[in-house]
Symmetry: C2
Subunit: 292 residues, 2 copies
């Protein structure tokens, strides 16, 4: 094929895997597209059993040198970083030599907000010649589509709560806080920060159990949206079956997320669980959303 | 004294008492100023034993008619409404006739945010000829003064967290959310909504215990500020010994509140507890603050 027009083999995609099922959803999507993948399940975060179904190399968060060496040897140029990663304490990391040399830079990133952590790490990979891709770029089928996902739709009152939630997220977007808020009858019940979406939903359930929420069960919406300046390659909001369960326990009416900018895990399980619980799950248009 | 210049007796101040010690702090301050007081401890919320030391009439939240009748008979013109009041379920209220007639109006207020609830109720009292006074107007000595309250002061890093916290509260102020935020090393750890300040601090303590907060203990600040459009007659942020205990458990460095716009319960107990725990409590200038 010398001198021909065939594209060079782009090589396998290196998938650095945090927790949850998203890394494998992305891996499967890439394989369906005919790309090869090499997984780097992060010890203590990733599901190593699930990772063992793919070509993979275990890695610790602090082993940048090991990753670079193996990823180059495997011919990877594209890197996807996906999955949950509860921020580890620096003392718990096993730092290799390359990582140690990068420490002054990592430390500066580390003590910034989540956005800075994630896009800062991304820039380090790029300095080493890799191309960071967003999971949504390599596997757009993992994104929430526009419109209701199951058989329920938001009521006009829910629509008002959704608009209020988006306005709140727009206002807090500059501060690298959370990506989620719970609004019921125009009243903000909870705003996510370090506790994460699941923690926030548990809190709403506890407040309701304690009689501290006025509106009756079956009202209120969980609204999630990317931050205005979020680097969508590294960190998109996501929902999974656990989100549905949290919303059900919190006694809300449903979930609104930004279509095309929210990763959905196990869509079939989500739709079934939402339908069973009488909840709506709706992908709203970008133009209504934060950061567009 | 007919025709003389002596001011008319303004009558006693009616103090509608919610929970906590603030109602009695305000009552004592008024008595020291030579004003008479009549307390209306709200059943289920107010400390009735403490109220029994003053002229008082028990009342239920829903007994507007009873309040109006007694307050007029006692010659009250000024009303102060103070103390915590977890929003009761409407079905738990014992509504009297006057209240029932006001219900359409109360219901509209009730399903708004906290601001609307509180200032809406204030307007109803004013329509009946009373003058609503803020606790800070009748007893300015219950407000946090400017500067550090105990023997500790914020570090430059704490000052940066305070500035960040105020910026976050300014951004969320339009939404009738919380009045408090926890910031540590420029990272927003928690933002208050329906759970209240104590609930938010418990959450930060739990996140720290679970290893989900990066910054070591002894860093981070609780920042409280009035909302930009808050009616300061009805609802000022407050701190008490419980706040100190919550901040200590959350592993923070201290508390920043707006001087002159924050009510302090049991200042001596606060200063002693803060000094013992190595925490700062600082009243910051209005010009640095939200809503000024």
């Amino acid at each position: 094929m010398k001198g021909g027009a065939a594209p060079a083999d782009p090589g396998p995609v290196a998938i650095i895997c945090g927790g949850g099922t998203f890394p494998f959803t992305v891996a499967d999507a890439l394989i369906r597209q005919g790309r090869r993948v090499v997984l780097f399940p992060l010890s203590g975060f990733a599901d190593e059993q699930a990772a063992s179904r793919y070509p993979h190399y275990r890695a610790h968060v602090g082993q940048m040198g090991r990753f670079l060496r193996i990823a180059r040897r495997e011919g990877c140029r594209d890197v996807v970083f996906i999955g949950t990663l509860v921020r580890p304490a620096i003392r718990e990391l096993r730092l290799d030599w390359t990582t140690l040399r990068l420490m002054p830079r990592i430390a500066r990133i580390y003590y910034g907000g989540d956005d800075r952590l994630i896009s800062g790490v991304g820039r380090i990979f790029e300095d080493f010649g890799f191309r960071m891709l967003g999971a949504h770029e390599v596997a757009p089928e993992i994104l929430v589509p526009e419109g209701p996902l199951g058989s329920h739709s938001p009521s006009p009152a829910d629509e008002a709560d959704i608009a209020q939630g988006l306005a709140v997220l727009r206002a807090t977007g500059d501060f690298d806080i959370g990506q989620a808020v719970v609004v019921s009858k125009n009243h903000v019940l909870a705003l996510e920060a370090a506790e994460g979406t699941d923690g926030m939903l548990e809190r709403v359930a506890a407040l309701r159990a304690a009689g501290r929420i006025r509106a009756p069960a079956g009202q209120g919406v969980l609204v999630k949206a990317p931050k205005p300046n979020q680097d969508r390659r590294f960190d998109l909001p996501s929902i999974g079956p656990k989100t549905i369960e949290g919303v059900r326990r919190a006694g809300l009416a449903g979930i609104a997320v930004v279509a095309g900018e929210t990763i959905i895990a196990e869509p079939q399980a989500i739709v079934e669980a939402a339908d069973r619980a009488g909840l709506f799950v709706v992908g709203i248009r970008n133009s209504q959303a934060v950061g567009s």
